[in-house]
Symmetry: C2
Subunit: 342 residues, 2 copies
């Protein structure tokens, strides 16, 4: 049913009907109510594409999804969806072309210049991220989830990775650990760099030399967690503690530790970063996993919120949000073993 048809059935002009439905003040309360009721009854709904054309708004927020089906992603989107519920704004997920998305700019270009979305969210930025520069040059609204070191002003939301990992590492040092390994995220991403920094600063603060052989960078998978942990454990002296970037990595580390006949929490301490998943919880692992913790879902919800503010006219320079991260100690961390190591 079209507006024209619907309006004539009501004996009103398209103008009045349109205004009534959009809640403009120049239509009487009585007619507004009648229009609203009849719209439901007759099932009239404005053609979204006509609305988009005339208003110039797309009614959607764009997100580019990497190929490497990351498990964080679903949680983040789920959080966005939670916030966007009832807003008549959709989430547009755009397929990424390249396997390792070295150059996502063309994708953003397509998304943005064709008018598909009103804003985009940029994930896992690099310190000098070309996507940010591009979107800024275009004057297109965007929110960065994570941080960059670029000079161009932009809205961002991030968790305090540096402090989280610094505290986690410090805690391990407090427990007497001296050889602490770190299995971090993909090289080159700011969040990995921040975590690196937190780790190194904690070591330095306590006079423990940094050993590059104890640090790895890659995707967050249990397999890589296992492999890196295995190879670290083969060193002599071997590390007595691990700081891990994700829950999946932690699973791999647990396996690696066990496979060497060692016990997590006694021989080897582990702290991982937990994005809070409904289907896999740090508390339930055996032994329960000490973790730096921050809800990815909450971040998604808040990101959607901030994008809405951005679209509402709030200046991007104003939107900077750094979330603190909890450190929750459980059974996977304990005093460094005193005895000599294999």
């Amino acid at each position: 049913m079209k507006l024209k048809e619907f309006a004539s059935q009501l004996g009103l002009s398209p103008t009045t009907v349109s205004r009534a439905l959009s809640g403009y003040p120049e239509v009487s309360e009585k007619t507004r109510k009648r229009v609203a009721e009849e719209a439901v009854r007759l099932g009239y709904r404005p053609n979204i594409n006509a609305v988009r054309l005339v208003t110039g708004r797309a009614g959607a927020i764009g997100v580019i999804m990497g190929r490497t089906g990351e498990f964080h992603f679903a949680e983040f989107m789920s959080g966005m969806a939670e916030r966007l519920d009832g807003e008549d704004i959709d989430i547009l997920v755009s397929p990424t072309a390249d396997r390792d998305s070295t150059d996502e700019v063309p994708l953003y270009s397509r998304l943005v210049t064709s008018g598909r979305v009103d804003a985009v969210i940029v994930h896992s930025p690099k310190p000098n991220d070309e996507r940010i520069a591009f979107l800024h040059d275009l004057g297109f609204p965007f929110l960065v989830h994570g941080r960059s070191e670029t000079d161009v002003p932009h809205a961002w939301i991030d968790i305090d990775n540096e402090s989280a990992i610094r505290r986690a590492t410090s805690h391990l040092i407090d427990l007497g650990h001296k050889r602490i390994a770190m299995i971090n995220g993909r090289a080159g991403r700011t969040f990995s760099l921040h975590r690196d920094k937190g780790y190194r600063d904690a070591l330095q603060e306590r006079g423990i030399p940094f050993d590059p052989r104890l640090v790895a960078h890659d995707h967050f998978t249990d397999e890589l967690g296992f492999r890196f942990a295995r190879s670290f454990l083969e060193q002599s002296p071997r590390p007595t503690a691990f700081v891990a970037g994700s829950m999946m990595t932690a699973l791999g580390i647990y396996r690696a530790v066990r496979s060497r006949g060692l016990v997590v929490g006694r021989d080897i301490s582990v702290i991982a970063h937990d994005d809070v998943f409904p289907y896999l919880t740090a508390e339930n692992m055996v032994p329960s996993l000490s973790a730096t913790r921050s809800s990815m879902r909450a971040a998604g919800a808040r990101s959607a919120d901030l994008v809405l503010q951005l679209l509402g006219g709030r200046p991007a320079e104003e939107i900077h949000e750094l979330w603190p991260v909890e450190l929750i100690l459980r059974e996977s961390t304990g005093p460094a073993p005193a005895e000599a190591q294999s």
Copy 2:
């Protein structure tokens, strides 16, 4: 840049330009090439919303995402994205309103009647699914991922859950297991029912009585896997084998088994369904997990493909695809222990 402006810069009419870019035959090869080149050079891109309005096509496939951030979802979408890459079709993810989405029909209604998407994918249907009836009545193109028992003809793609679980259960029986527990998915969903059936049929075939106290239905989380497994293991006699609905469930079962001082693969056999995740693999678990296996990502890619066919005019009645499921035996399954049980 608008079409009109772009066309005048080329010294052509909007019509010719539009045709040149869409590859219509009534424009000479020479001008087509020139138009294509200039479009790139000047950065002209048609306003997608104008295109949508006039063509009536939305250029997007809709997906409704449940609140309970399911980890399968990201893989499925990632597969869709893979197939849709280069097609100029997006994935529109719509927030679900209710927590347990008992009534998703209004959401589909909004998605469909407002012209946001050209087709939708319905996930985890129930045997008599109101979403399917609704979409069918509207005459709107849709693909069901999973199966339903409704009479209305519709396109679907599914994996052979029944046969997979029947074979898994049979295999356990072959190994001498008699008390086999099953931790299945949400009650009421067809895939859960199919798995139930496969399980029961396998038992019946071999004259093993069905014991409802050995079956559970719920979401796929490691916590629920743990809890159900714990409670099953408290029974006397206790089960000697588990069939599980997901990798996360299997993680929980492993923990529960260990927490009772038992050993997976020796005291307790486990087979789970593996949707194939890049970040968590059955092969790498300890002991490696025997699994029924089918790639969720591949299903997503194929689903996108089928939707494209549907939109291309292929009749829905023709599109029925039942994928076989591999059964991969690893170390988590072994002969039933002979000795008496606690």
